[in-house]
Amino acid sequence: MSDVSVAQRRSSDVLLPPGEGGAKRRMRAMSLSRLAIHATLILACALYLVPLVVMLLTSFKTPEDIRTGNLLSWPEAFTLIGWIKAWGVVGSYFWNSVMIVVPAVLISTVMGALNGYVLSMWRFRGSQLFFGLLLFGCFLPFQVILLPASFTLGKLGLANTTTGLVLVHVVYGLAFTTLFFRNFYVSVPEALVRAARLDGAGFFTIFGRILLPMSIPTIMVCLIWQFTQIWNDFLFGVVFASGDTQPITVALNNLVNTSTGIKEYNVDMAAAMIAGLPTLVVYVLAGKYFLRGLTSGAVKG
């Protein structure tokens, strides 16, 4: 009872401080600056969204509509013809991309987690040097590895295969995933691993039962990062795959860059949307983990 009344008095104190209306004026000034901030944010948002809106609108228009109307005009009649045509062209490549992305993301994440675990908890002679070299891998531009990679794939008999492309993506992505996991695991107290060792847990048990369950945010970061990188990759796709095994990015490029016939912008836009949709979906579904994972290291120190 008395608690409630105290709380009430407190809250009314905040709302109506004794004295003149100085607080009210302050509040009006505050809401004005609030308004300015929100207006700016909405404007920035709108600017960023324009290309997406244009793409979406165009993809639902008929070719005639596109020729007559302007970029931002509403479609005279919504039609799915662009989407259907686009799927007909890039659909099979979409599945190619899926076949590349899923194993490449999973393998590079799992291996990155194991690498990070070893590099942080089971330091061996030269592990610092090893980690340094790995870090170096993060800064290697794509172009540098094209020749050696194609040479290696050729030797392995994996040239122009999905497996080959997966391998390249895994190897290139390992530097990043290892870095993510290693940085998370160095913030985990070593005593945890020690306690588990005394409890009789082995290398893989400690990893699977104790560290991995703690790493959900980092796993999410890795999945999103690798998914975006590999799905959006064009260069490796164009160099290491050909014909039937090409990923959707290459197919999209081929579609948009054809010089024969009239340009069907609705099809191009729909195809681009199809190519971009999975990354969007992943961000929407797992974005909050991404932010949490990125900041978790900073907060825990």
Binding site: P189, A191, L192, R194, L198, G200, T205, P213
Partner: protein, 384 residues
């Protein structure tokens, strides 16, 4: 149950770094309880980690049951440890934390449930079993850490300050529980503590460490009554031992040390076996607070001193006086409640005091005649 022996153990964290542990020699028999004390950073946790096999040692041997365990990993040494930092598994419930070690050792589920229930009752954490460590207070986490070790029946328990975070009442209860459990199970135990009472009451043996060196390894009584050096004497005991600087003079066959309280002066006879080099050298006279009492005996020298501060603690009254410009704590019975400024007539048995070299901190042996004859010399002592 197993005996534990450390032979000449050395530990250096990095080559080039100074030794963290230096020539540690310890031996405890099967079923014994060893207390490890020492100031922060002296290497207690390091020693525990070495025994558990979690840190590689740089020299010497660790023998469990007489077997050198150099080639044995932590898992196979069959040791359970309470970590100073608790090290609870954050994604597991309290129940799973406690059960983990048993599961790893393929204990049947029924036994696991029994053991978890047993330690949960013992540590009063039954209502917390389904929580995650992050949802517990520090003291609760510490009890879970304790439970994780106690659920197992290893050869050796290593406890690294297992009660440091508990409130006074719970601490006393847990201390008794640990002692009862040790009496029942007789598992060899090494126990690190900063608590004077735990150090004195729990163990069969006490090892006092400083800067990675064992200063003394003896029974609790031995450490208390017969400290090897100034460090051990000052570290063990609460309130700590008083150290009064004196310069003994030789007078005939007799050594005398002057005590000056500002109000009075007295000459204390000392049974020094030492030679002439001690003459006029600065020594420290070590007197435990409880050895000082209100004058009541005619056979002991009496010192008159003014009370500067009093601290009634409940079971006793601590009165602080000054001797040779050094604060001296006297532990008096609680019914004596001196006012500040009051002059007390204090007595202590000169035969029971300890002497240390002020520079090196080494203990200086008292003479062979230490237990008798002090009564004879009392006549020389007179209040000024």
């Amino acid at each position: 149950m197993a005996s534990l022996e450390l032979r000449n153990l050395n530990k250096r964290y990095a080559s080039g770094a100074p030794d963290t542990l230096k020539d540690i020699e310890l031996k405890i028999d099967s079923g014994e309880f060893l207390i490890l004390v020492g100031p922060s950073g002296c290497g207690k946790s390091t020693l525990m980690n070495c025994i558990a096999g979690l840190e590689a040692i740089t020299g010497g041997q660790i023998l469990i049951d007489g077997q050198d365990v150099a080639g044995t990993g932590p898992k196979d040494r069959d040791i359970a440890m309470v970590f100073q930092s608790y090290a609870l598994y954050p994604t597991m419930t309290v129940r799973d934390n406690i059960a983990f070690g048993l599961k790893m050792r393929k204990v049947p589920q029924a036994t696991i449930d029994e053991e978890v229930a047993r330690v949960a009752r013992l540590l009063q954490i039954e209502h917390l079993l389904e929580r995650k460590p992050a949802q517990l207070s520090g003291g609760q986490q510490q009890r879970v850490a304790m439970g994780r070790a106690l659920a197992r029946r290893p050869k050796i328990y290593l406890f690294d300050e297992p009660l440091s975070n508990l409130d006074a009442k719970l601490r006393v209860e847990m201390r008794t529980e640990i002692k009862l459990m040790h009496q029942r199970l007789k598992t060899t135990t090494v126990y690190v503590t900063h608590d004077q009472i735990e150090a004195m009451t729990l163990g069969d043996k006490v090892a006092v460490m400083k800067d990675g060196v064992i200063q003394q390894f003896a029974s609790p009584r031995g450490i208390y009554n017969d400290p090897a050096n100034l460090f051990v004497a000052s570290f063990i005991g609460s309130p700590p031992m008083n150290f009064v600087p004196v310069r003994p003079r030789r007078q005939g066959a007799q050594w005398l040390a002057a005590l000056d309280s500002g109000q009075a002066r007295c000459e204390l006879p000392l049974e020094l076996a030492g030679d002439e080099t001690l003459d006029g050298r600065e020594l420290l006279l070590g007197i435990r607070p409880e050895q000082i009492g209100i004058a009541g005996s005619h056979s002991l020298p009496t010192v008159l001193a003014e009370v500067k501060v009093t601290e009634p603690t409940g079971p006793d009254t601590l009165a602080f006086v000054e001797l040779n410009d050094t604060k001296v704590c006297c532990r008096l019975p609680p019914e004596i409640d001196p006012r500040v400024g009051e002059v007390l007539a204090l007595q202590f048995d000169p035969a029971r005091v300890l002497l240390f070299d002020a520079g090196s901190g080494e203990r200086i042996a008292l003479g062979p005649a230490r237990s008798n004859g002090s009564a004879k010399k009392v006549s020389r002592l007179h209040p000024r």
